[in-house]
Amino acid sequence: MSSHGQTYSIAFLTILRKEIRRFARIWIQTVFPPVITTALYFLIFGKMIGSQLAPIDGYAYIDYIVPGLIMMGVLTNSYGNVVSSFYGAKFGHYVEEMMIAPIPHSLILLGYVAGGVARGLVVGIIVTVVAAFFTDIHLHNLWVALSVMILTAIMFSLGGFINAVYANSFDDISIIPTFVLTPLTYLGGVFYSIQLLPGIWQDISMFNPILYIVNAFRYGLLGVSDIDLSIAYSIIILFIAVLYGFSLYLLKKGIGIRT
């Protein structure tokens, strides 16, 4: 490995390690709440209400909502990790530690995104384990499930990064998750198939990126989806490319960081 390559890999691993230590240190605020929330979803929507509902696409309701709930944990936690960590670094001025160091902007971004992916995956795995207490976990295609999970974590980590760059207060880092992410998640087919919606609402749902994520992941676990898998991958990858380019532009310009 060239000396630059070695320097950059050490810098990247330092950011990643720092990010993992951060969410591990405050696990009671980061990893534990999704366990409680999803256990309640499984208990109330899956067991209590779900047992009264007809199967969807041949699966019991509790089995049908497992993929959506796992993805909900992945996307909210990867987003939440980067937005709170990067905004904290801005607020405490310790983002300057990285800005003055010989680290390319792309590497800073990748370090934070990797941290977000790590938390997203940890929460995704924990939610899967919790789900296993309530129902059997199906696995139709491991590679689809794994790749969608990772791509989703990347996409929402980038979203969290952009939110953090523009945030000027701690209120600003909770606005998007509360008023945008949560409604999109609930309307993104986590709890239902869009086939059950009237025509116009099916069309409107197609503008919701979370719909593609949930359905692609549902295909990975159950082998059923409302969306064609290749379209879902294309949409996710397109979002990642656009968000990555925009994040890098913000970092290079120093928006919200440099004067």
Binding site: Q6, T7, Y8, I10, A11, L13, T14, I15, R17, K18, R21, R25, G88, A89, G92, H93, Y94, E96, E97, M98, M99, I100, A101, P102, I103, P104, G254, R258, T259
Partner: protein, 309 residues
């Protein structure tokens, strides 16, 4: 001799149209202990911010050890260690982690970083606190932590922006000794400080910046030779009602009934003052400088450039 820092026609205009730097030129030679002085808002921190990539410049050029900070940014940054004015580390990380993370950002492998971290923390009296959360440290310890962090990648140029602000005099002096040692071992140091005694003690060369312009840039001794007058405070035993008029022409001012201020021009001596006060029956108990010499010069220069302090 190698130039550690070269600044040419550096300008900075902030978004609110405030012109912080009006085309400054500055050179710092390798191995120097260089002082950058100026009143609040003069442009010191903006200059440091631009050198360290924390502030975008409007125009001009900055080179660190021959590396342009834009065209060869990574090489330039590798040469710099920064101790900023405000605490800028994660207060919720252990002390050791703050330093080791910084080593990682500069690509220093952990097996090399650990002994360096031990040396830096021991040298600055923080080794016993290495496992403590940074927020638990006192203000002085936090400042020392930032120095340890800045040195972890062995920078060729160490920039200290008010490193001893709020630090008690005993600790300040021990930090001076440490910084002198670092400089002696070959690290070029640029220091901004409000304590002019500190600059006089440490810096071989000085620049004074005011209203975005360098108004003086010279060797410290040369600068001090420019000082035309010194003001002394005399504590007297007598109970004075008014300042005595001295026939030798030295201006005097009564601060309180037992304290007299005398202004002495550079070519004048103090003997006539003592003699005349003695003749008037005024007994002098002690004498001290009103301000240190550099402070007087600084005030003269800055006031003559039109800044109200």
């Amino acid at each position: 001799m190698t130039t550690a820092l070269k600044i040419s026609e550096l300008k900075k205009v902030y978004n609110n149209n405030f012109e912080a730097l009006k085309g400054i030129n500055l050179e710092v030679q390798q191995g120097d202990f260089f002082g950058l002085l100026g009143p609040n808002g003069a442009g010191k921190s903006t200059t440091i911010g631009i050198i360290t990539a924390l502030v975008n410049k409007t125009a001009g050029q900055v080179e660190v050890f021959g590396h342009d900070i834009e065209e060869n940014a990574m090489a330039a940054r590798r040469c710099i260690g920064l101790v900023p004015q405000e605490f800028n580390f994660n207060q919720f990380e252990p002390v050791e982690e703050v330093v080791l993370n910084q080593a990682g950002y500069y690509g220093v492998p952990l097996k090399e970083a650990r002994p360096r971290c031990e040396w830096a923390l021991k040298s600055l009296g923080l080794w016993e606190k290495r496992r403590n959360m940074a927020r638990r440290l006192s203000g002085g310890m936090k400042r020392r932590l930032m120095i340890a962090r800045a040195l972890i990648h062995k920078p060729k140029l160490l920039i200290l922006d008010e490193p001893t602000a709020g630090v008690d005099i005993e600790l300040r002096r021990s930090m001076w000794e440490f910084l002198k040692e670092v400089n002696t071992k070959g690290t070029t140091i640029i220091l901004t400080t409000h304590y002019l005694e500190e600059a006089e003690q440490l810096c071989r060369n000085l620049a004074i910046i005011d209203q975005g312009k360098i108004i003086e840039n010279a060797n410290t001794k040369t600068l001090l030779n420019k000082l035309n007058k010194e003001t002394f405070i005399l504590d007297v035993k007598n109970n004075l009602e008014e300042a005595p008029q001295l026939s030798c022409g030295y201006p005097t001012r009564l601060i309180d009934p037992h304290c007299l201020e005398v202004e002495v021009q550079r070519e004048q001596g103090l003997n006539p003052v003592f003699k005349e006060l003695n003749d008037k029956g005024i007994e002098i108990l002690s004498m001290r400088n009103k301000a240190n010499r550099l402070e007087e010069l600084f005030l003269d220069l800055v006031e003559s450039s039109g800044t109200t302090l």
